[in-house]
């Protein structure tokens, strides 16, 4: 990538000699750079755009599902195709898009920049992580090319439906290996980022001066180290069951199907926070910058992130309330407690906006969309955390609506992150006009798709059914939901068009288009290889703001 304009003079003096040596000569570009680069920025972009490709592909599958459900007794696709659609939709959204898009995409690109490092601690290892991830993604899709089709048992693949006798064919194996590869990719990324954060921080960048985004990524990475190996092991056991007669999950031969559920959710619930925490970080950064204020309750925010991370390890069985095989009060108490640190974050976000000068651009609008949708998803989460209410709502569309509100809240923050950081990555701003239209379509589309699903759940519609009886009172709500899905698709198209055109012809961004606060805004857009020629002094968690606004330093005390 090239620097698009002459760099203006930095407002601060370079107080150290140049931090790197520039090797002259041609640099790789295009496909060669994509394949061989060990640069954290290139790998971050690879993750971001592979993740977005996953989002679009899995989104198309959602459109197939919503089209199938638009009227009762519909025969748009067959039962098996429908089952493949929701299985691979869920798997790709979680393992390819929602998680890696943030923790590996934004994480890779931004963590070294935000802590003033030249690259990740293990650049080649980083490259390997990406290729494992892309391999996993490809295998998940390759299932559709096999004779029996892709996996058809839902993204949490409850044994024994996943055993060879119930799900024959290579589709299920490709699902197992695909998830296994993305699992390894996640573990390697976690090792890399944790090492980077602990060893490569610039002078002055103590832990309590790291941006909230970096803190959240750090906690996420520890959750990955605790959760992903369990997932990968569970997948390995399943593969042994299918091919070597392991019988781990086969009750007829002494195995235990419930073991799969415990192993899977021991990964699966931390996974929810592995997905959510980076987006919390993105939202925090955007809110602070666009309000021109420091993050309110910075240390309380970090404490909340740490306690969410800790509690996340002890709530997995709230997905298993109806199995009759878990200690209900313990998991209910832990699950309800998570509402407290999450609430702290909400009030800190409001405090961050309070008495600021808020710029309502597209990035900020997406952030507010995140707040609204995540708030609603959080409230329904408190309802579902109670076993008695979960007995009523378990596996109905109420649950589908709940977690889509949570995850799409996160995706909203992710789109906000694109509008906020793509100018840094490409050197060009995205169009505000198209951006605001895209935001409006996505916000209306998402809500129209998923709000009616709460009522569908209360009216007793189970998830994952391919069609439904016309007399259940579900017809109108399903129709609304499907129309919402089409509006969402339009919103995605508008945003994709915006990214495509603005990348080529967008307004030049300059180094610091938003009056940013953290270190990534101190280098050029896009940043040069190895990032920094000079760093501003790091005396708080917003060194660039301090350098640009010496008259508006954070007020100490309260």
């Amino acid at each position: 990538m090239t620097i698009l304009e002459e760099r203006p003079q930095l407002p601060f003096e370079a107080h150290e000699p140049s931090l790197m040596e520039i090797v002259p000569g041609p640099r790789p570009h295009g496909i060669v750079k994509f394949v061989t680069s060990t640069d954290h920025k290139q790998i971050g972009l690879n993750y971001l755009f592979t993740g977005l490709a996953g989002f679009v592909i899995a989104g198309l599958m959602a459109l197939v599902m919503r089209t199938q459900l638009i009227v009762p007794n519909n025969h748009f696709v067959t039962e098996n195709v429908y089952n493949e659609m929701f299985t691979i939709h869920g798997t790709i959204m979680l393992f390819v898009f929602a998680g890696p898009f943030a923790f590996a995409g934004f994480g890779n690109y931004l963590v070294p920049l935000m802590i003033g490092a030249p690259d990740m601690a293990f650049p080649r290892f980083n490259n390997l992580s990406y290729w494992l991830y892309l391999g996993g993604f490809s295998l998940l899709l390759a299932g559709f090319l096999t004779n029996n089709g892709a996996a058809q048992f839902g993204w949490f693949g409850y044994a024994p439906l996943t055993e060879a006798i119930h799900s024959p064919g290579p589709g299920a194996d490709l699902w197992i290996v695909g998830i296994g590869l993305t699992g390894f990719s996640g573990i390697f990324t976690a090792v890399n980022i944790i090492t980077t954060v602990f060893t490569l921080r610039a002078p002055g960048m103590v832990m309590f001066r790291m941006p909230i985004f970096v803190w959240n990524i750090l906690v996420t990475m520890f959750l990955i180290l605790l959760a992903f190996p369990v997932l990968t092991a569970a997948m390995a056991l399943l593969w042994i069951d299918r091919h070597l007669g392991g019988n781990f999950y086969d009750a007829t031969k002494g195995g235990q199907p419930i073991l799969w559920q415990n192993l899977f959710w021991f990964f699966g619930h931390p996974e929810v926070y592995i997905i959510a925490l980076p987006y919390f970080g993105i939202a925090t950064e955007i809110l602070a910058t666009m309000s021109r204020k420091p993050v309110f309750g910075y240390k309380g925010m970090i404490a909340a992130t740490l306690s969410i991370g800790a509690l996340a390890m002890g709530v997995w069985a709230h997905h298993m309330y109806t199995t009759g095989a878990v200690l209900l009060p313990f998991f209910a108490a832990m699950s309800l407690l998570i509402a407290v640190p999450t609430g702290i974050k909400f009030f800190n976000w409001i405090g961050t906006m309070w008495r600021g000068t808020i710029v309502l651009n597209t990035a900020m609008l997406f952030c507010l969309g995140f707040l609204a949708m995540f708030l609603f998803g959080g409230i329904t989460g408190v309802i579902l955390a109670q076993p008695v209410l979960d007995f009523q709502l378990h596996n109905t569309y109420f649950v589908v609506a709940h977690f889509h509100y949570v995850l799409i809240g996160a995706v909203m923050a992710g789109f906000g992150g694109l509008y906020y950081w793509l100018p840094k990555m490409t050197g060009r701003k995205l169009s505000e006009k198209w951006g605001k239209l895209g935001f409006a379509l996505l916000f209306i589309g998402f809500n129209l798709t998923f709000f009616p699903q709460h009522d569908l759940g209360l009216r007793g519609m189970p998830r994952r059914i391919e069609t439904y009886n016309a007399g259940m009172g579900w017809n109108f709500l399903n129709e609304l939901s499907s129309i919402g899905a089409y509006i969402t698709a339009l919103g995605v198209l508008v945003n994709a068009w915006n990214i495509f055109t603005s990348w080529r012809n967008g307004e030049l961004a300059g180094d610091n288009p938003w009056d940013g606060q953290t270190l990534e805004w101190a280098c050029s857009s896009p940043p040069p290889d190895h990032n920094f020629e000079a760093l501003p002094p790091i005396r708080s968690e917003r060194p660039v703001w301090d350098a640009n606004h010496p008259d508006m330093l954070t007020k100490v005390g309260h």
Binding site: K293, G297, T357, R464, T467
Partner: protein, 267 residues
């Protein structure tokens, strides 16, 4: 005042159940509503206020405040949610004990077997009600397996899976319970309102998951007694497959091969 109590009695959109457990479930649902609706509105209100009041207007020369901590406020919004969560947990704990209570002496005990993709209900005398949905027409409500049970009595359901994980779910019971190979689950229901209620498998179990439906026919105790007296021991009632009304008990209990007792999958 009357309007206020009317508002507080709202069910926040939740349907009414027909069992004695309904009371606990909906009380908890309402309690969650009392807390979450105001909290949600307060948070949304604060956000809206902030973006309207503090948004940057062109030409305006207001400097953003640069405060970062306010310990008393931060402590308040930590402690109040903790208290709310504790209250919800306390009420929930009590409700949970009632809902999951299993009677030692139920009036009727029925075994519910789930299989791909149908149900088998086995009564104490060995009578079997068995069937699958109509794989060709989801709108066909006539050929579904029927779980017959009395009202106003404690009915104990013993749910067993014969192959993969299924979930017994009847919307009007406000209740789900999984059928998992290797785990024997038992729960009680006491239906207060006789009637015909649709039920459905609520856990993905393969190709025809959507068709794994059944009906619950709740009769008054006298009607039930009359119905039960008419079912000879080890008789079989099939749904949608006429001609095998009297299969043999031993044959149908021998394994999970229900060919002939259930409707054939299409294709």
């Amino acid at each position: 005042m009357h309007q206020l109590t009317g508002l507080l009695a709202t069910n926040f959109g939740s349907p009414s159940g027909v069992t004695t457990q309904d009371h606990y479930t909906r009380e908890l649902w309402r309690l969650s509503g009392y807390f979450s609706v105001p909290i949600g509105l307060i948070v949304l209100g604060l956000i809206t206020f902030a973006i309207v009041r503090y948004r940057h207007r062109p030409g305006e020369d207001r400097k953003p405040a640069q405060f970062q901590y306010h310990i008393p406020i931060e402590a308040t919004y930590t402690i109040i949610p903790l208290v709310i969560v504790a209250v919800i947990f306390g009420v929930m704990y009590n409700a949970e004990n009632h809902v999951t209570k299993v009677s030692a002496k139920p009036s009727v005990a029925i075994t519910v077997d789930g299989f791909q993709w149908g149900w088998r209900f086995v009564y104490p005398n060995g009578h079997v009600q068995i069937g699958t949905g109509d794989y060709n027409n989801i709108n066909n409500n006539n050929d579904l397996p029927v779980l017959v049970m009395p009202s106003n009595e404690t009915v104990q359901l013993h749910v067993v899976s014969l192959d993969v994980v299924h979930t017994f779910y009847v919307k009007e019971f406000l209740f789900n319970r999984d059928l998992i190979p290797g785990i024997n689950n038992t729960f009680d229901v006491n239906v207060t309102k006789p009637g015909l209620y649709p039920g459905q498998c609520n856990n993905i179990c393969g190709e025809y998951h959507a068709y794994m439906r059944f009906l619950v026919d709740v009769m008054t105790p006298t009607q039930y007694a009359a119905w039960y007296a008419n079912q000879p021991a080890c008789s079989v009632t099939t749904a949608g497959v006429p001609g095998i009304q009297n299969g043999s008990c031993a044959a149908i209990n021998a394994g999970a091969d229900f060919t002939g007792y259930t409707q054939a999958p299409k294709g």
